[in-house]
Symmetry: D3
Subunit: 130 residues, 6 copies
């Protein structure tokens, strides 16, 4: 039986990350189903459901952090999708990367920008408007 | 003669970081005045003046990135002040740190939270309302 | 009412980190009680309680990771205590740091070693045998 | 003439990393043979030969550190092989990655898990039992 | 109208990074032309034009830093080209990577070395003498 | 009996890092004398003794890398001393930090600069001319 945290988290994950998030969960099923469950329960069931910050503000924080760390490009791409899904414009995503040039250096900003470019191309192919 | 970028950046730095920002610039004067000038011109004169993202959104991105990197506590504290100066509530700063537990781990979230706690104490002492 | 995850986590936290862990939770109470609760529920209630790896092996992994990252000295010290509490010898902790010289460089190994030295001094003062 | 450190290191490298380790040394031969020699002499001839920690415990530390750092996927994969070669089970490797979600964040855990998945597939193809 | 910083930066970028640098600027044109302009103006127009350190010394610093960070391989490759373009020999680049084994660990040194190997192959194909 | 690597390394360590280096070795004596020996043998006996890059160029690489990583301030300070001991001017050290603003962000540059400032004060007190 799924816990309330799980149900709430699964809805939140679909709302924010859409298919990209579901694919991550799917890819974990055979090797580490418990990690898949934790991802749904803790980040999405507990943290993203807290309110106080809007989902858009939470995704700005996440995209900034992942671009600054620079060692998690697949997750950065998932969360650029997420940011766009919850109300960021493409131009706002571009601005986050420019902001990171100041705090994490130009290579971090460039690699974040090229990740954004890939995401924008993917969304154009899928016919998404932003 | 100061460039327009410098003048615009100096006003922006005072608006965002307040005295904490001015102290950083002051501390650089004897050892690296050009780095002080670059900080005013590029991050503040160029980047923070771009619009598109609000100053509050830019500070959410910055606080998240510095908490995730975890190797720049003095700058993290300056930007927690900055976030509060441009419209974040203390509770929103706390939420950014909780969000970072997911993306950079619990130690990063804890160290960010304790930096926030120090900043809140400083602001209480100065009689600031948020 | 505390969840089962909370109760299980609180027992596990006391078993592993002892007073050092309780002090972290205490320090969060006024600023971010929910983060304190998450730390008890997720790392300790969920992860440390999983079995498969022994607590000693989990602490070897944690001490190695924190020494390699090099940006979370307070948590590194808590987990050096933790490693010693669940069965590592001091000499084994020293070996983890030497191992990190290979994978994260000599500065990471040195800073990890000096953190260990501080922990050993604290434990000598408290009259602990290892 | 090879030093004792070199001979001891070469045996240790073959014991731990197997063909994956030999391929790294081979790839360095034309560009930096001295770095290849240092790798054999220092990490393997000096450090892995120290005892006190078992080889399994050393690989737990190494896999944890590389997963947490998140910027050395080829070496992470070599050492997941290494861990399995010296006595870790696949399930134990999976647990190390789950543990890293706590200390380095979910993206680090995910990227470590997917590296493990690739290694497991490689070993299945080679008909290895663990 | 281009600023003096832009003109000076553009010449400097071509001198140091050559076609590799121009390609980065080109790739930014459609998504973030302002970031392209900032790269020309600040790193190249302001910083690389400062003197005091030679361009060779600046590239030694840059290659070392990017190899140590280990999360910006495309930029590391651009700057290995840059180092060779402003007077480093291939053997000197190899030595920078060996030096990084000490300060950032063997995985960072290895990944830096393999980036150098790729750059050397590219330059051999283009018929460049160093 | 000390190996040739040890003797060569000890001389090199004294030449480069001076008293600051000797103090690090001394501090390891009671807790991890083997790590002290490895530091003398591998970084100093093997790597710094290789030639090809001058000691000044090796210290430029090291100071840049440690400033960029930003998580090893004590070692950064030791190597700023080292850089000055083997021929860098203070102004050149300042330039390395400015260069790091581009590749690791302004916080890294600032923290590197303030480390340099502390070193310069220490050297003024000791009456050193650079």
């Amino acid at each position: 039986m799924k816990s309330d945290r799980y149900k709430r988290g699964w809805e939140k994950l679909k709302e924010i990350d859409g298919h990209a998030g579901e694919r991550v969960i799917e890819a974990l099923k055979d090797i580490a189903p418990d990690l898949a469950r934790y991802i749904i329960e803790f980040p999405f069931g507990d943290v993203y459901s807290r309110g106080i910050l809007s989902l858009k503000e939470r995704e700005i924080a996440t995209v900034a952090a992942l671009a600054a760390l620079g060692n998690a490009q697949p997750q950065l791409k998932v969360h650029i999708h997420g940011a766009l899904n919850v109300g960021c414009t493409r131009q706002e995503v571009v601005e986050i990367m420019i902001q990171m040039a100041v705090y994490a250096g130009f290579p971090a900003a460039l690699n974040g920008m090229f990740a954004a470019k890939e995401v924008f191309v993917e969304r154009d192919k899928e016919g998404q408007s932003n």
